[in-house]
Subunit: 115 residues, 2 copies
Amino acid sequence: MGALTVGEVARESGVSGSAVRFYERQGLITAARTGGNQRRFDGDAACRIRVARVAQRVGLTVNEIRDLLAVLPPDPQPADWQGLHDRLTAEAERRIRDLHAALDDIGSGRRLCEL
Amino acid sequence: MGALTVGEVARESGVSGSAVRFYERQGLITAARTGGNQRRFDGDAACRIRVARVAQRVGLTVNEIRDLLAVLPPDPQPADWQGLHDRLTAEAERRIRDLHAALDDIGSGRRLCEL
DNA sequence: CTAGGACTTGAAGTAATGATGAAGTCAATG
DNA sequence: CATTGACTTCATCATTACTTCAAGTCCTAG
C-alpha cells in the first residue's frame, strides 16, 4: 500500500513527476522521506491528485485546491468525500452561472459595443 | 469621434492605460500617431476593448481575442456583430458543456478518487 | 513661454503552473 | 561493486496578462 515513489504516483495519477513534486511543495499532498531523502507517498496521494485535477477542470487554482484538500483527513470517510463533492459541485455551478451571465450580456439585443 | 488618447480610451473602456497599450501591442486595437508620436485612437477602440473583456469572461485568451477581432472591419455592420456574437456564444456554450462534464464526473456515484 | 500633467519606450516584475536541465545521490540488479 | 534508472535540489525557461518603473517628450492652459 503505502510507500510509492514520485514516479509511481505520477503514473497512477496521470501527471508528470515534476507536477507531483510541485503539488507536494504546494501542500496538496505530503510525503515521508527515506533515509536517502527520497519521497515516499501513500496510496492516498494519487487519489488526492486525481481530485485536484477535477477541481482544476472546474476552474480552481492550486491554492484553492490546497484549501479544499486541507479539510480532507487521511483515510477519508464517505462524509468527507461528500463534502468535497458538494463544494466542487457548487463551484462548478457558480462558474456555469457566470458564463450564462456573460451569454446574457452578449445577447439580449444590445450590441456588444454597448455593454 | 476619432482622436482619443490612451487615457481617454482607458476611461471609456474601463481598463487601465497600461492595458490599453498592451492591447495595442497585441493587435486588439490600432492607433494613429500624432507628430509627437502619441497614440490617437478612434471611438471604435473602446468598443473593441469592451468586446474583448466580454470575451475574456467567456475564457478566451488575448491571442484568441485578437483573432476574433481581426475579422471585424473598421465601422462594422450588424452582420459583423452578429458573427462575433455567434462565435462568443458558441464558445461560452462549449465551456458550459465542459463544466457539465466535470460535474458529471464528480457526481455519478463514483467516488472522486476513482475518476 | 513655462509648468504640469499626460504621454512615450523599453525593461523588468508579478503570479500561476508547471517543464526542463544540470549536477549529484540512491537503490536494485547482475 | 559497478551500472543504470529513478531520485534529489536548485535554477532557469515558458506562458498569460498585465503592472510598474525610469527617463525622457509632448501638449495645453495660463
